[in-house]
Symmetry: C2
Amino acid sequence: MTALKNDTFLRALLRQPTDYTPVWLMRQAGRYLPEYCETRARAKDFLNLCKSPALATEVTLQPLARYDLDAAILFSDILTIPDAMGLGLYFAHGEGPKFERPLREEWAIRDLNAPDPRDHLGYVLDAVSEIRRALDGNVPLIGFSGSPFTLACYMVEGQGSDTYQQLKTLMYSRPDLLHHILEVNTRAVTDYLNAQIEAGAQAVMVFDSWGGMLSQAAYLEFSLPYMARIMEGLTRERDGRTVPRILFTKGGGLWLEHMAASGADALGLDWSIDIGEARRRVGERVALQGNLDPSVLFGTPETVAAEAKRILASYGTGPGHVFNLGHGISQFTPPDNVRVLVDTVHGESRRYHGG
Amino acid sequence: MTALKNDTFLRALLRQPTDYTPVWLMRQAGRYLPEYCETRARAKDFLNLCKSPALATEVTLQPLARYDLDAAILFSDILTIPDAMGLGLYFAHGEGPKFERPLREEWAIRDLNAPDPRDHLGYVLDAVSEIRRALDGNVPLIGFSGSPFTLACYMVEGQGSDTYQQLKTLMYSRPDLLHHILEVNTRAVTDYLNAQIEAGAQAVMVFDSWGGMLSQAAYLEFSLPYMARIMEGLTRERDGRTVPRILFTKGGGLWLEHMAASGADALGLDWSIDIGEARRRVGERVALQGNLDPSVLFGTPETVAAEAKRILASYGTGPGHVFNLGHGISQFTPPDNVRVLVDTVHGESRRYHGG
C-alpha cells in the first residue's frame, strides 16, 4: 500500500503531537452534497449505493474533493450486520431503516448467529479495499460499526423509535434474552471490524447511537461492557501502525470515566458537553473527538467560525483533539458553511499545537 | 383553606426531615388509566379537557384515588401560554400539539406580548382553585409551566421536532430575535406561575423539556438564565408556607451545578444520571426529584420493585429526595405496576429516614 501522506488524524487519536487539529465530519458523504444526491439517484436506492463498492467509493471521496478533510470514512450503513443475519433490512420511501423480521420471539433470538463477514458482508470489505486504493494514501480511512446495543435496538424494534418500548420491555422482563442478542452482536461486530481492518481500514469507530437512552445502571450492564469486549478483540496493529479505536455513545457525557476505561483510544462527544470539561475528566487517558452542534452549520458563516473557535479554545493547548460534529451532518446544511468550518479549524488550531 | 394533612412532599423539596420518601409521577393523570380515557372520551378533545375546570379536576384526582401518591399536579398542557398569545394551539388526530401560526417572521416575533393570565388563562386558574377544594387538604397541589426556551421551541417550530432546525437556525443566525421571544416568555411564565400560586398551587415546577438538546454554551445563554429570572420573580410564601420551586431540564445531567445556582429548591432528574452521583454534586444545595426510567414499568413487578430500591439506596440516608419517574409515564404502562412502585417507595424508604 502507498505510504500515508497525512497521518494527523491517526496521531491525534493516539494523543501524539500534531501541527494542527485534524477534522472530519460524521456523515460527511451525505445528502447535503449535490454530487452525492446525483450518485444516489443513479443508484436508485440507498441499499444499492451501500452494496456497490464502486458507488460507495465514489461517494466516500466526494467530500474530500471539496474540503480539506483529514480522514475518509467508509460509506455504509450501521445496519449491515443485522441485514447479514437475515432480518431483511429495507428503506421505505421517506422513512428510516426497517427490518422485515424484527426479533420478537424467543426462538428467533435463540436462532441468531454472527455472520462471517467474508461470506455475508463481502461488499463492505470490497468497498474498503477499493476506497483505500482510490485514496492513494492521501488521508486515512475509518471503518465503523454500530454497537451491539444499538444494533439490538433496531433488531428488536424493527425500526427507529422514540421510546424503544419493545427493547425496554425485553430488557426489564427478559434481560437474559437481551444479553443473548448482545453476545451474538459482540462476536459479529468484532469479526466485522477486524475484517475491515484486514481489508484496509486504518482506524475504527463504534457508534453507540442509542446507548444514551439508558439509565446509568443499564448502560453499564447492557451497552458498555460489550463495547469493551470488542475493543479487546480488535486487531491492534496493521502494516506496522496502531489501528486506533473511537467509541461514541451519543448522550454518554455523564459516563465518560466509564467509557475511558473501555480500551478505546478516543471518545466521541456529542455537543451537550463542554469539551474542556470532558478533557479535564478523561483527557489523560483518551483523545476526544467532537463536538460542534451540527445545527451551528445552519447559522451565519461568522457564527460557524466563532463556535469552532470556542471549541478549539475550550479544548486548549496540546494534542488529543479530533474536531468533528457532535452528530451526523444534516441534509439541510449549506455546503459553503462546511468549508468555513474546515478552514477555520485548520487555520485557528495551529496556535494550540507545537510551539 | 383546609390545613394540609400530608406535607411530606413539600418538606422533602425543602430538604426538611420526613418519615419516608414521598412519591408522585409526572403525567400521573394520563392515558394509562382507563378512567382517564373515559373522561377524555366524554370531553371529545384534549383541549376541552384542559379548558374545563370540572373535567381537569376530575382527571387530576383520578390517580390519587387509585394510588397512595404524595402530591397532585394540575392537569393542563405546557403550551397554554403560546395559545393565550394567539398562536392557535390545536391537536391533530394521533399527532402531537401544533400551532396554526408558528413564529417565522420578525414582525410576528416583535408583536409578541405576555398575556395577562387573569384575562387569557382564567380556565387554568379556575381549575387550580377547584382542584384545591376537591383535594380537601389531603396532599399538596403542584402548578407548572413550560420553560421559556421549551415554549420558544414549539412557538418557532410550530410543532415538536427531532432536530429543531427552525429554532436552531434562528439561534445561530438571529440570536437577538430568539432572546426577544425568551424575554416575553419569561414575563409570561412568571405571571402565570404567580397566578397559579395565588389560586392555590402549593409548589411549582418548570418543565424545560427541550433544553437538553442545546450545547452547554447555548443552554447557559438561552435557557437557564431565563429560568433563573423566573425563580427570582416567583411568590415565595403563600398562607404562611414556602412555595417550593422545581426545575427540570430533561437531558441536563451535565449541568446540575449551574442549575443548582438558579434559585430552584429542587432539580428534576431524568434517568440517565445516577441519583447518588447527582446528590454528591449538588445535594447540599437542592433537593432532587426522580429518577426511574418510565420504561421500567413495562417490566415485571419484581423488576419495578428492584429498580425502585436501587434508586432509594443510591440516594441514601436523609432528606431531600422526592421519588418520581425521569419523564412522563407512558400510556402503555400497566396500572398495577404503578401500585407496586408507589408501595415499594413508601415501604422501603422508611429505613433511610428518621431513626
